[in-house]
């Protein structure tokens, strides 16, 4: 115990600053990317190339928009899964999040919220930063455990997430059943809404305070200006986060499965011109 606190004290400044930095690199940068990817389930609707690997028959049955959405999202997920040394990126993220979370809890416990006495907006910001941090820890753990580590017993359905059927398996993990939404699905969806909202707030406000911590924004005017920038970034990320959630909640799971089946059938031959092993039930490229 004495050695622990000795270590903490000797490297106090470095640990504080690494804690601040780790919230931006890698966690903040990753969150930005992650939300951009996920939001493609909604914004893929305007991506005319999103449906290019989906058969005409499937497009006819599920609709062009859905085909674009699922096609775009699957394309992004496949791209990420084909990145070299992906496991190293993942492990550095897990370590980064773990480091930020453990130190964050340690630091948060040194404060004592007093918004009831001093109900200033900035004081609420302070308390919310700590509350959203705690929420984000539970949320991110649940998110990674169920969808990446395959702890499906925590999921309302027992189906694991698959990067080959990215949209349908996630929609299932969110809604709990193929058509409509189960009671567990409502709980999970609410948790996702709260969790992702908390995470985005935590990043936007953390960026604002980090500029003070490092001494980038010294004058009150500079802090205000940087505050507008962080609020703008936060609002933008919030749009991405909420549109992802809405996109997945409105997604018809069986339609998504059909589309992914097409994409998967074409998976062995990503090069258009090469004929692929034909799947009798799904006429493909020639129908396009």
């Amino acid at each position: 115990m004495d050695n622990d606190s000795g270590f903490m004290n000797r490297h106090y400044f470095l640990l504080r600053r690494l804690h601040s930095l780790s919230g931006i690199v890698p966690i903040g940068i990753f969150l930005l990317n992650h939300l951009l990817t996920n939001a493609s389930i909604a914004w893929g609707a305007v991506n005319s190339r999103g449906s290019q690997h989906v058969s005409a028959g499937t497009i006819e049955s599920v609709g062009e928009i859905t085909a674009r959405q699922v096609g775009t999202f699957q394309h992004d997920v496949t791209f990420i899964n084909n990145m070299p040394f992906l496991i190293l990126i993942e492990v550095s993220l897990w370590l980064g999040i773990g480091f930020h979370a453990i130190l964050g809890v340690y630091y948060a416990r040194t404060g004592k919220s007093n918004t009831s006495r001093y109900a200033y907006q900035d004081n609420w910001r302070y308390s919310l930063q700590r509350l959203t941090g705690y929420i984000a820890i539970f949320y991110i753990f649940y998110h990674v455990a169920t969808l990446r580590w395959g702890w499906t017993f925590l999921s309302p359905t027992d189906t694991p997430w698959s990067h080959e059927q990215a949209a349908s398996t996630f929609a299932l993990a969110l809604k709990g059943k193929v058509s409509g939404i189960s009671a567990g699905g409502i709980a999970v969806s609410l948790f996702y809404f709260i969790g992702v909202t908390a995470s985005v707030y935590h990043l936007a406000n953390g960026l604002w305070t980090a500029a003070i911590t490092w001494g980038l924004t010294v004058s009150e005017a500079a802090q205000r200006r940087w505050g507008y920038a962080c609020a703008g970034l936060g609002a933008g990320l919030m749009v991405l986060a909420w549109s992802s959630l809405i996109g997945f909640l409105l997604l018809d799971v069986s339609s998504a499965q059909k589309i992914e089946h097409d994409l998967h059938a074409g998976h062995g031959s990503m090069v258009e011109t090469e004929p692929h092993a034909a799947d009798e039930t799904q006429p493909l490229a020639e129908a396009r």
Binding site: L14, T110, N114, D122, Y126, I212, G215, V218
Partner: protein, 268 residues
């Protein structure tokens, strides 16, 4: 002045959090008084001390408080008035309780140990100023002569910072500064906005600069400027309107630069 004049001869109630001595339990008592014209909190406490009888008619001891200058420059009479921290000498009754039957609640500051009633021991506040050597090092056995010149610009910045009266408002409102009765833990507990701002003042002072590195070392360690949580209550409750949050950011920058310099120059 269209503002309605407060009613003269009105009765107002004081709700006071009392404590008979260090470590003793707190309790509440209420007193009704007819305040004098242009009364402030202190003059009302004097009135209560004349006839210390509660609203229940129970005779009690006079309420104890601390005060000094009575013009908001010494900081001694700081207490929690109606839930917010401020000086009691400038707490005017006409503003705080303009109507008959209005209640004013008085509590001692919660971040310092209570000596008695509304009187607290602010020793840790001064201890924290010592931690950052908040002074100009000119002690010597012979005359050092005239000091370096200060530019008008830096004088203007310094003047605002030098108005700090060590009252403790910024600490009382700070969620990161909490009561610590164990003196051995003071050096590792959050130092507070006042000391950070004073470190900035003396680090920018042409003679005070001599202790710059020592101040930055202290602010880089546990309980230093890194422990600030940016709730920014300090700047809002500061009676002298000192730009405390700017001082915190300035010292954040100074510790960043100090760390980079020590890393490369191998000092420390």
């Amino acid at each position: 002045m269209s503002k309605q004049a407060p009613q003269q001869g009105r009765t107002i109630r004081f709700r006071i959090k009392r404590c008979d001595g260090p470590g003793k339990p707190s309790y509440w008592q209420e007193f009704d008084i007819v305040p004098e014209k242009n009364a402030n909190i202190i003059s009302c406490l004097k009135q209560i001390a004349e006839t210390p009888v509660t609203v229940q008619g129970e005779k009690t001891t006079p309420v104890v408080w601390d005060s000094g200058c009575l013009e908001e420059v010494c900081g001694a009479c700081t207490m929690v008035i109606n839930g917010g921290v401020r000086q009691s000498c400038t707490g005017l009754i006409d503003v705080l309780a303009p109507n008959n039957g209005d209640t004013i609640t008085l509590e001692p500051m919660s971040k310092f140990p209570v000596v008695r009633d509304l009187w607290v021991d602010r020793q840790r506040l001064f201890h924290n100023l010592e931690r950052v050597k908040a002074w100009v090092p000119i002690d010597n056995t012979y005359s050092l002569g005239a000091g370096p010149k200060e530019s008008p610009d830096s004088q203007a910045t310094h003047y605002k910072l030098s108005e700090c009266m060590s009252c403790g408002c910024c600490l009382e409102a700070c969620p990161q500064f909490n009561i610590e009765e164990d003196e051995s833990k003071w050096d590792e507990s959050f130092i507070g906005a006042h000391a950070i701002s004073q470190a900035r003042l003396f680090n920018n002072h042409e003679t005070g600069k001599q202790l710059k590195d020592e101040r930055l070392e202290e602010l880089s360690g546990k309980g230093g400027v890194g422990d600030c949580g940016n709730a920014q209550n300090c700047v809002k409750v500061c009676p002298k309107e000192i730009p405390l949050t700017e001082s915190i950011a300035a010292m954040g920058r100074a510790t960043t630069i100090h760390a980079v310099k020590s890393f490369f120059s191998g000092k420390k």
